[in-house]
Symmetry: C2
Subunit: 474 residues, 2 copies
């Protein structure tokens, strides 16, 4: 059975053709008899237009630089298999039974050990809530804090899955500019002042400080300090989403934002990228009062996370060489990152720019001026290469000139072949558009304040109704 | 490590003392600095007042008739363990990887086979969405249909976990009376007319037709027809929640509501009671247009259900004698039900009445007039027996005289001992209250229209603000 990229909704491909409609309608021609009774929040839920392409993308001849799937086959599958088998045979009364809503206490202890690697030494297991992936963690935090119409600050671009959560909470998203050094503190302060002036309630800042999805950049040390200082100054709650923090290629992990402030930072973690996403084990670290509400929210949502997968992770951390395994993963991703960057360097036409990640899964690529990654996508798939168009990562419909390339899953040779195909598609596109004279030299780096000292492209607050978010693109 | 009843939040027991406050506050005396920024939906989220008792209840000397935990140790744990171990060793690339939001196609096929046992023969795998337990299924359906203030019809009493979902959706719940034959169609019609007259929008009826939690009763065949007819007449959407349908002691499963109408009935299923709750695998069967929205909602909530647990269930259905296993479970539960009913019969003081389930996990007991199950609870725990007070199963704070007894988990001897202790507590309570003269002969059966032909106790619509729901009690 083919594995499908997350969110690709394999098996429902026949719905693809109807995805553009505001109320996706079933295949049979009758109108949806329930059309008038859906909740308001569903109106903003749009299925990805690239989903229809996924049946194509999963053909073996296509090189997919689209999905964010970790290289799980690099795990010692036999050892993990017998470990999990033993858990069921020997501890079935626990692993097959309901557990607590907050999650297995033993696992929560071990999660504190994991967080210590990023400088969080004061976390206690009682402040941890185990979630069904960090996706559920983000959904719970959003449920607990956000009423319809509330403002959330989020990097431009932002993780598509987060925008999906915010949209289904009917929040308004205000993007904050970032550059190669991550979120720009001055842009954050500007956003906070704007919101204050407009009387808008900012519920929190959502940020991915390490090896950003999709931008591939990492928040520098001085900026971490600056952002914490702004959180203090403006009484700002920060949601630190950190699934990739331990996957750095060049240096030790930077100290988490949460390590610098335990009251204003809620931390989201995940075992999806350091162990296995198929187990769906993530967590939230939050002050006790918030933790309390998160537990109530998760009980109403799923009763409790799966016991088996929690025991599997706890046992894995207890008995397997997980730190060494993370090294194996990072070596593998570093090699793939190198293959990706080297071939981009060698093959991309002038005017194409991209970020240079030193960890994680993603390169963020900007097309030459005038090109549109989404319009180009069918031609790329025709040329047997796939990527995720940038617009999915913006709540305001911008980002047309960007795309995300994931180097985590394909082998280096495939990556090189994929980039080669992509370069040809871009060249053909440039020919087609006859835009040779309009090559733009702006890079992602070049996010600079305008003459008034303001950061362009991050000023509008985008409500759920006119939002263009929720493209696939983990 | 002790297994804790679902929702018992083991490991956070130290919070218990503060549970009564509208905003549960952390132990340290400082005020919650975030208190002013929670979402409106959190105000109705109340933690269970009986949670604090669970640390007591889980002491081995206490007979707990409180939890709804299935007897998972009756499974062939070695066979299931090696089956799951093999899945990871042999298919790690799939079982440890992200999957599709809708769920594994192979599992969805097998789910259709399971539903055929209850007369649903027209379901297709494309209409099935796999969920993290049927709890998540109910949460997704509620998210897709319910705006704050919308009315949901639900049996009086109703499954506490459903009331928790409705409360966190800020819905208003209107209870509909039931008796030993299940939901009363005339009471349903009355509720629909009342809502129509009041201009209230009824989003759906939530019903548990088989071996009801907590009432232990089953909707009869003629009432099934009557309710489907009312759904047609009043354009009513019905949510059929059916985790216990295959656990009947006396006869073949009754035909599901969904088998009678595929357009107005959304069906929720679960493997929690027929296989294992620790895997958290449930599903929703819904018309394609709804299914489409459910997939978007689940992607925003958890990305996808765990792959490993889905593969485990599919492989279990493919390779293990699951129908025979269900027989083993029902034999075991029947024996426990008998132990429970026989000792109730032998030991309960006059004026105590109870339902006689012919399947599932629960007996619904009514105390002699004047007694309050919740007030009595600390004394019961002192006497080393635990149950769930009835008020948790009503959104309107009624049900004081009821309690739920679960016979699914303890051995028959323990059940007999538990009932013996409970009988003594009730007798002592009667002494204490000197209410020997006020013994009430009303039973649960005796829900009858009043002189005006109206059903008492089901007329008020209860909003989230004054709701008393979300007691523990699965
Ligand atoms: C930034 C970010 N946050 C959260 C997630 C969700 O991860 P999971 O739910 O698998 O833990 C992802 C997955 O790609 C991600 O990139
Ligand atoms: C009526 C009812 N619905 C739903 C559930 C939730 O079950 P699951 O474990 O599938 O989430 C329960 C659990 O006890 C139940 O009794």
């Amino acid at each position: 059975m083919a594995t499908s990229p997350p969110g690709s909704s394999a098996g429902s491909g026949q719905q693809g053709a109807h995805r553009g409609a505001p109320h996706p309608s079933p295949r049979h021609p009758r109108l949806d008899p329930l059309a008038d009774r859906y909740a308001a929040r569903t109106h903003g839920m749009k299925s990805s237009e690239i989903r229809a392409l996924f049946s194509v993308v999963s053909r073996p001849e296509v090189v997919s630089l689209a999905g964010g799937m970790p290289a799980v086959t690099a795990l010692p599958l036999d050892a993990v298999g017998s470990m999990i088998g033993d858990l069921v045979s020997g501890m079935g009364a626990q692993t097959l039974q309901y557990g607590s809503g907050q999650g297995d206490p033993r696992l929560r202890e071990r999660i504190c050990d994991v967080m210590a690697l990023e400088g969080i030494h004061d976390a206690s297991a009682s402040e941890v809530v185990v979630t069904v992936g960090s996706q559920q963690g983000l959904d719970l935090v959003t449920r607990v804090f956000v009423d319809p119409g509330d403002v959330i600050l989020a990097e431009a671009p932002s993780y598509v899955g987060a925008l999906g959560v915010f949209q289904s909470a009917e929040a308004r998203v205000r993007h904050v500019a970032m550059d190669d050094d991550g979120l720009i503190p001055e842009a954050l302060e500007e956003a906070l002042l704007d919101c204050r002036a407009a009387g808008d309630r900012v519920k929190f800042l959502y940020t991915v400080p390490n090896f950003h999805n999709p931008a591939g950049v990492t928040l520098t040390e001085p900026r971490r300090e600056a952002i914490i200082a702004l959180a203090e100054k403006y009484d700002l709650l920060v949601i630190e989403d950190n699934p990739y923090g331990l996957l750095g290629f060049e240096h030790e992990p930077l100290r988490a934002l949460r390590a610098r402030n335990s009251e204003r930072v809620i931390y989201l973690g995940s075992f999806s990228k350091t162990f296995s996403p198929g187990l769906r084990v993530g967590w939230v670290l939050a002050p006790l009062a918030v933790r309390e509400k998160l537990v109530l929210a998760t009980e109403a949502q799923v009763l409790c996370p799966p016991s088996l997968t929690q025991y599997a992770v706890a046992r894995y951390l207890d008995t397997q060489p997980w730190r060494e395994q993370i090294k194996i993963f990072t070596e593998l991703y570093r090699e793939r990152r190198d293959a990706c960057l080297e071939s981009l360097e060698a093959l991309m036409p002038a005017g194409t720019t991209w970020t240079r990640p030193d960890g994680g899964f993603y390169v963020w690529l900007k097309l030459p001026h005038g090109l549109d990654a989404k319009l180009m996508q069918p031609r790329a798939v025709n040329a047997l290469v796939a990527y995720v168009p940038g617009i999915g990562f913006y709540a305001d419909g911008s980002g047309q000139e960007y795309m995300r390339l994931s180097y985590c899953y394909p082998e280096p040779d495939q990556i090189r072949e994929g980039v080669r195909r992509l370069a040809r598609v871009i060249e053909a596109e440039l020919d087609l558009h006859s835009t040779f004279d309009a090559v733009d030299t702006g890079t992602f780096r070049a996010v600079r304040p305008d003459a008034d000292g303001r950061f362009s492209g991050s000023g509008t607050i985008v409500g759920p109704a006119n939002s263009n978010a929720y493209e696939d693109g983990r």
